[in-house]
């Protein structure tokens, strides 16, 4: 089975720090995968490399049969990979509906002439854009909130707007960067249901960075673990849960119970 996203030997250095070190990850189509790891493990850097915000030093990234290396973020979006941000980056002054409409940019026919002369095609497109944006808002559970300025929405709703905005470009794959951070338990449960519906109803492959283990274990079919920029493990939730290297990365060597005490003393 061929991967939708095939990352090989990806490396990114910032000065002396190797943020992503020789990482190889494959994402199957229609799957829900998680990338986990302690703070500073290079998860968000990996997302930024995938979406063209950073350029990798070495390595290849194939998405849907095309290389992503050297593409600008807007080209990556047009190629069918969209994302949300760890710290919410909505267009705060715009309405919720407008936020989602902006997300459709790469799918629109943008012509200065049509815009100025208001051709029938332009008007049709505007109606379609508005309709689709409201449909997406309904999908993420924000029906009727389209006219609110996004700044005024509660935190959890802002996260939903970001997801709707990311879905607006009809992506094949959506990258969610800590989508449940700051949510209360009930919101988290709702969010998990939403991620499943994104995959099941829209057929969009989901990749998420997450710290909340209930979310990670509850929703993902496949997990990759990063630590200090390197992939230290991958597998199903059950495999990851019992993987000594993962436990070591999260809780320290002693807790992992697999290494002699004197070696751990050396490390510390």
């Amino acid at each position: 089975m061929s991967s939708l996203l095939d990352v090989r030997n990806l490396t990114k250095k910032f000065g002396g720090l190797t943020a992503v070190n020789n990482v190889t990850i494959g994402i199957e189509p229609q799957s829900i995968s998680a990338i986990i790891g302690p703070n500073g493990a290079g998860k968000t850097t990996l997302f930024n490399l995938l979406t063209g915000i950073y350029k990798p030093d070495t390595g290849t990234m194939m998405f849907d049969g095309h290389s992503l290396v050297g593409l600008r973020p807007d080209q990556v979006n047009a190629a069918g990979m969209s994302r949300t941000f760890q710290s919410i980056r909505l267009f705060h002054g715009m309405t919720v509906l407008e936020n989602v409409m902006v997300g459709m940019h790469s799918r629109l026919n943008i012509s200065l002439f049509n815009t100025l002369t208001r051709t029938a095609g332009f008007n049709r497109q505007e109606v379609h854009v508005k309709q689709k944006a409201s449909d997406l808002l309904r999908f993420v559970g924000l029906a009727g909130k389209g006219d609110e300025v996004s700044r005024n929405l509660p935190y959890g709703d802002q996260r939903r707007v970001e997801i709707a905005r990311a879905l607006a470009s009809d992506p094949k794959l959506i990258l969610l960067d800590e989508p449940t951070a700051g949510m209360n338990p009930q919101e988290t449960v709702d969010a998990m249901a939403l991620f499943r519906r994104v995959r099941d109803e829209l057929g969009v492959t989901v990749v998420l960075i997450e710290h909340d283990m209930r979310v990670v274990m509850g929703i993902s079919e496949y997990i990759s673990v990063l630590d200090y920029g390197q992939k230290i493990a991958e597998g199903t939730p059950d495999e990851i849960r019992s993987n000594p290297r993962v436990i070591e990365a999260y809780l320290g060597r002693r807790a992992a119970g697999v290494v002699e005490p004197e070696t751990s003393a050396e490390v510390n």
Binding site: D74, G93, M94, T95, E98, H105, R107, T115, D147
Partner: protein, 480 residues
């Protein structure tokens, strides 16, 4: 007592309700404009206090379109009022006193520039401190091809006649847009303060080029400037119209030809501003406008959502530049003189001040800013200086404090304090209304529409209950 205060409250509520009724507000607006026109009409230049009175009255008239547009009356009525103001009242006042016409043309020129800069700064959030350069490009485009100075164009007989003016408006748009893209390409990788400084440098570059391009081949006539710039021919019907109005109203117009020329520029300026407003609105209300707003709000998120950053920024730069180019052509023809000094940094800053005072990102705001700042510069301060001079000449003494206006030092003339008052205005704005006088309407568009619906319902429900209230209150109101 209690009864009386409740009656007072009633009458106040009634008054407030009346202010929401289109018919009442409409008649108030008409009365307002008529009173302003009558006062302006009755002013006499030879009167000692003329500068003072015209300073008080003319802004009232020029600001009336904004009051009309904000008033709760029907759309067609607003249109009729504004059209009457633009096409009847102002031309009429201009015929009586051409200095008003001159002022309104200047306001239009700056309004066009403010609208153009508003696209760049307000819509796309790109702080451009060299915007005047594109105005210069437009002005020089027309001036070089028509000036009587001994430029390479004149010597080789490449000059065009004044009737090519309308074609050159389009050429000015085109050339300025090209220059906008050429300047934009290297600088738009920068953000915020860095972009501001680099655009400032580029703006100065254009001025320095204009100053030095008299050698080795004389294109711009250097610092001497291009004089004798061509003007569009006045169509015969406009001159005939002026003469007809003159005889019909019993006016005595001293110089019919210059006045017709000014009227022509006035109508051209109004037409250009109209086109610019339509273009700006359509851009704002489109995927392009949304992309610009997104870039202004968060560049990283915008590009990650598929907005091609460089292309959209260049489009904003080119659009803003093209407005300035068109206005520049008109400016050159109206002044008949173009020199590098007209395009200094302080002009860029003035236009930016207009956008800030009016309200960044809103079309009406940019227009209001242009009107206020231009009137402050060209009417209020100038007239106050004139007034002081007039009083000085007749040795006017302020009663009670017994102060001779003659003793007022000439260094303290208001016209010399343009920059000071400008600076104070900006500081006050930043403290009390940082978003401008008319903040961007776009973001609140949907919310406002809802509010208006609610207001409409209130009016209609109140209108039904109103009859008894009116009759109950009337006796008391008569007593008062």
């Amino acid at each position: 007592m209690a009864v009386k205060s409740s009656v007072q409250q009633n009458s106040r509520a009634m008054f407030r309700a009346a202010l929401k009724r289109p018919a009442v507000v409409g008649s108030l607006l008409v009365a307002y404009i008529l009173v302003a026109v009558l006062i302006l009409n009755s002013l006499d230049r030879s009167n000692l206090w003329f500068p003072f009175y015209s300073t008080l009255t003319f802004p009232v008239l020029v600001l009336s379109p904004f009051i009309i547009l904000a008033a709760p009356v029907r759309g067609w009525f607003k249109g009729v009022l504004v059209a009457a103001l633009l096409f009847l009242v102002i031309p009429y006042l201009g015929m009586r006193d051409s200095s008003y016409l001159e002022l309104v043309i200047q306001i239009c020129i700056f309004a066009g520039l403010a609208l153009g800069l508003n696209i760049v700064v307000g819509f796309a959030g790109l702080l451009d401190l060299g915007y005047i350069a594109f105005f210069a490009v437009g002005a020089y485009t027309w001036a070089m091809f028509t000036s009587g100075a001994s430029t390479v164009f004149n010597i080789n007989g490449w000059l065009v006649s004044g009737s090519a003016f309308y074609l050159f408006i389009f050429l000015g748009i085109f050339v300025a847009a090209i220059v906008g893209i050429l300047l934009g390409l290297p600088v738009l990788r920068l953000r915020g303060d860095y972009l501001a400084i680099v655009t400032l440098g580029f703006g100065e570059m254009i001025r320095v080029i204009a100053n030095n391009l008299d050698q080795p081949i004389n294109f711009t006539n250097g610092s001497q400037g291009l004089f004798g710039v061509g003007r569009p021919p006045v169509p015969f019907f406009l001159r005939d119209g002026v003469l007809a109005v003159e005889s019909a109203l019993g006016l005595s117009i001293a110089n019919v030809d210059p006045l017709s020329q000014q009227l022509l520029f006035y109508f051209i300026a109004i037409a250009i501003i109209g086109v610019i407003i339509v273009v700006a609105r359509r851009l704002d209300n489109s995927p392009i406008g949304r992309a610009w707003t997104a870039i202004r709000e968060d560049e990283v998120a915008a590009i990650a959502m598929g907005v091609p950053l460089v292309r959209m920024k260049l489009l904003a730069f080119a659009t803003g530049a093209s407005f300035a180019g068109a206005i520049g052509v008109i400016y050159a023809a109206k002044q008949t003189f173009v020199s590098p000094e007209s395009f200094s940094l302080i002009q860029s800053i003035s236009i930016l001040a207009m956008v800030i005072v009016g309200g960044m990102g809103g079309i009406r705001g940019a227009l209001l800013g242009a009107v206020i700042v231009t009137m402050l510069n060209l009417l209020v301060l100038k007239n106050l200086s004139l007034q002081i001079n007039a009083l000085r000449n007749i040795d006017f003494v302020i009663p009670i404090i017994n102060y001779h206006i003659r003793d007022w030092p000439t260094q303290l003339e208001p016209a010399k304090y343009e920059r000071l008052i400008f600076g104070l205005l900006l500081i006050v704005m930043m403290i009390f209304r940082p978003a401008g006088l008319l903040p961007e309407p776009r973001r609140r568009m949907e919310l406002q529409e809802k509010d208006e619906e609610i207001v409409d319902e209130e009016i209609s429900s109140e209108a039904g209950d109103e009859q008894p209230v009116v009759s109950a209150v009337r006796p008391d109101a008569e007593q008062a």
